[in-house]
Amino acid sequence: MTSAPLKFECCMDSLQNTPCKRPPSRSSSSSKRGRTPGSRTPHGDRFIPNRSAMDLDVSNFELTRKHLELNTENNDVNASPAKEEYKKELAQTLMHGNPSSKVLAFKSKAPKPAESHQNSLRVLYTQNREASSVPRKYSRQIPQAPERILDAPELLDDYYLNLLDWSSTNILAVALGDSIYLWNASDGSIQQLMQAQGENAHVTSLSWIQEGNHMAVGTSDHKVQIWDVERKKQIRTMTGHRGRVSSLSWNGPLLSSGAKDSLVLHHDVRVADHKVGTLRGHTQEVCGLKWCPWGNMLATGGNDNLLNIWDDRYSSNRGQGSQTPSDQPLHRLEAHQAAVKALAWCPWHKNLLASGGGTADRMIRFWNTGSGACLNAVDTHSQVCALQWSQHDKELVSCHGYSHNQLILWKYPSMVKVAELTGHTSRVLHMSQSPDGTTVVTAAADETLRFWKILSGGDALKKERAAAKESILNSMSIR
């Protein structure tokens, strides 16, 4: 150790006289040594470079030696500094900056990890990322009162029917007695679509096709009708049931209907011989019927307290003969103690079904339809008439009968009650959701329809709002 000022001078010297024959890798690594790793990770106070790792003595020695070498070399090389520069350049390009070492690699390569292996750290990283980048979800205001109330005279007070559906084109259809009325949610106009013919005939179920241009209508005289809504014209009538048709569900061009004769029929509405399958899994009226959004599973609920899950085996039946009945459901779930009418497939989680039981049961149950396992069960203390999942949040709405006739908004999977909404004065029979997912409409035995704007519109709505805000700012800045 010489005196400190001398050391400093040496440093300066060797920096100014650039032709330096030190292996540049060392110089680069020593420059990196000075770097605080903390600059990269501002919170990483764990990685303070330790001065013991820097080895000041070696550095000092290296620097002084270079200086001495330089001095001796300068005597004879002074004449051609360009040559020295060239040498250095050449060495750097050819030897990758480290002329005195060989880089050797082992010829045989490391065995590859198993194909299916995924980095298990992914969970850790994604958890952190979400926690840091996404701000905490704000709790939104949930209005306690309905946004709008419409009269629904002559709405049948019958638990087993399905009389309300909101189309993807924003038209709400409701069956009042023997007629179907269409309420256009965009402009508020009301039209009558049809009136059931015959004495005492009434509409017992209705369902929009996904595209929103046709509607299936089930009637008390055992028929299933298909209506073209734009032209207000009946396209076809399909028979096959021997009881009133109380539930309908579309799966693409395939319409399934459940009736009081305990059968579920599959109709292919495109072909003349429309009946493509029969499911005999129930012994009483089929009042709940829902295809899952992925189209590969059908849930049926009956007055015999059964909930059946069917896969799409009807398609294989079609080849062997269209009339082959199938009576083996994928899962036969007997947990409910009353009629199962309320069914809802989770829109974001495949194979998750929510089902609700009638007066004697009062439970909402969640099923893994792949395995048939009951994932959760919640006692609601009231008849469960209908269920709807939120499209954007992990939430669920249920509507109930006696004694409060309320709607309940649940968080899933915690099943914490977010809100309980009362207003209806009689049991809330039917529920449907607007195409934008913000509003649910309920039809109750008190002959009213109520619109509840209790769900969040998701990202689309937020973006819209943000865009609106931005445009205001833009117009402000122009002025």
Binding site: R40, K102, V103, K112, H117, N119, S120
Partner: protein
Amino acid sequence: MAATASKTAITLKGSVEIVSEFFGYSINSILYQRGIYPPETFKRINKYGLAMLVTADEGLQTYLNSILAQLTEWLTHGTVQKLVLVVAGQDSGETLERWVFDVQTDKSIGENVKVDKPEKEIMSEIQAIIRQITASVTFLPLLEEACTFDMLVYTDDDVQVPKAWEESDPRYIANSDEVRLRSFTTKIHRVDASVSYKAD
């Protein structure tokens, strides 16, 4: 190791043993901590007063052992400058991480000379490095794709290249950040550890 635990002096042979053993454990640690191989293929053993995870996969064990055997030989001759563990994408082949162990050998110490350094002290230095490797998950970016690894050894220029080895390019990472880890020394060998990774 228990027999040598109380030793306070080390020979060259002992030092080489310590260093190559350290390489073995740190490579295993990196492979486990960075999720390059499935965690269920590792078994837990006690070493350096820590619970270390060591691969139980036979293919990988043989691979590492053959590398370490060669490395031991080079260490004995003092010709190793660096050991580099390169983590690269399996399909892209792009280098994502480079774990560098700089080795400095004091060549003035002969075969039979003993240097004074308590084994315990060395162990605690090694322990600190291993701990840092474990903690590295907190700042290293996630390896998105399936990865594989490669070992590079920087040797002196005059070393004969063994049959199983070949000259390689250093596989630097363009635009990288470097974090220096701790170092340990046996007074014969000094090992500096660092890791560099893609900066963006």
